[in-house]
Amino acid sequence: MSTELAVTLANDLTEIPRLATLVESFFRDHGIDSGFAVNVNLALDEVLTNIISYGYRDASAHTINVTLVLEKDVVKATVEDDARAFDPRTALPPDIESPLEARPLGGLGVHLVRQLMDRIEYMRSNGRNRLVLWKFL
């Protein structure tokens, strides 16, 4: 059985639940529990929602490549796209302590990615973003 899952997505939010189904199957086929799968899917969802919603300066079709590699004790999820440069490691942490009426909307997506994943690598080269999310089993 393959230890790699490669999926090409269009820059359309409806692609995210399609990817989630494929990721769930990939983990299930390798005996990895659904709680792990939902956390990886949530991190991918947050990254892809940001890319698709805010990353492009035009309204054209773009492709986003997602690859999951399962190694002995870690899953590495790579997202490659041609959207504008964005390094999630440099985003400011959101306010998660103010009372309800003062709590700002937004900023939580990147925060969730950092909470859910064990390591985040980012590279920008030739006009493309390459983000690698590590999650230990």
């Binding site: 939010l13 409806t14 995210i16 639940p17 989630a20 709680g35 939902v38 899917n41 949530l42 969802d45 947050e46 929602t49 919603s53 998660i96 302590e97 009372p99 309800l100 009426e101 709590r103 909307l105 937004g106 939580l108 997506g109 925060h111 969730l112 909470q115 859910l116």
Partner: protein, 124 residues
């Protein structure tokens, strides 16, 4: 009690009316694809005849930050109109996302719809 249900890809929402309290039960995924529709549903009920909204999360299998924003925005708008938005029946996944986001401390959270209805004082 009046019961109705609206469905779209990924999320369906059941509405139940108990006097001046509305219970919304979203079922499925609350994410960037479904959040706008759910936000409109919440806003529809922030109106003079409604005292409180109970969002029953028992059948919500997935929530992302887009879904969190809708709940936060709904609770803020409710409070600004002197109403209350409360939650109940959080699943383990939703509870974990709430804890990561600092949401567990800003919403009244009940274990069941019954407890939520008791916790929201009615004005009959």
């Amino acid at each position: 009690m009046i019961l109705s249900e609206a469905t779209e890809a990924g999320l369906s929402v059941r509405e139940q009316h108990f006097g001046d309290i509305v219970v919304l039960s979203p079922s499925g995924r609350l994410d960037s694809n479904t959040c706008e529709r759910f936000e409109r549903t919440i806003l529809d009920f922030i109106e003079p005849d409604i005292r409180a909204l109970v969002v029953d999360l028992r059948d919500l299998v997935y929530i992302s930050s887009a879904g969190l924003c809708v709940l936060l925005s709904g609770a803020q708008k409710s409070k600004a109109m002197d109403k209350e938005l409360v939650l109940c029946n959080l699943t383990a996944h939703v509870r974990e996302v709430f804890d990561f986001s600092g949401f567990s401390s800003i919403f009244p959270i009940y274990r069941s719809v019954e407890e939520a209805l008791e916790g929201c004082p009615r004005i009959d």
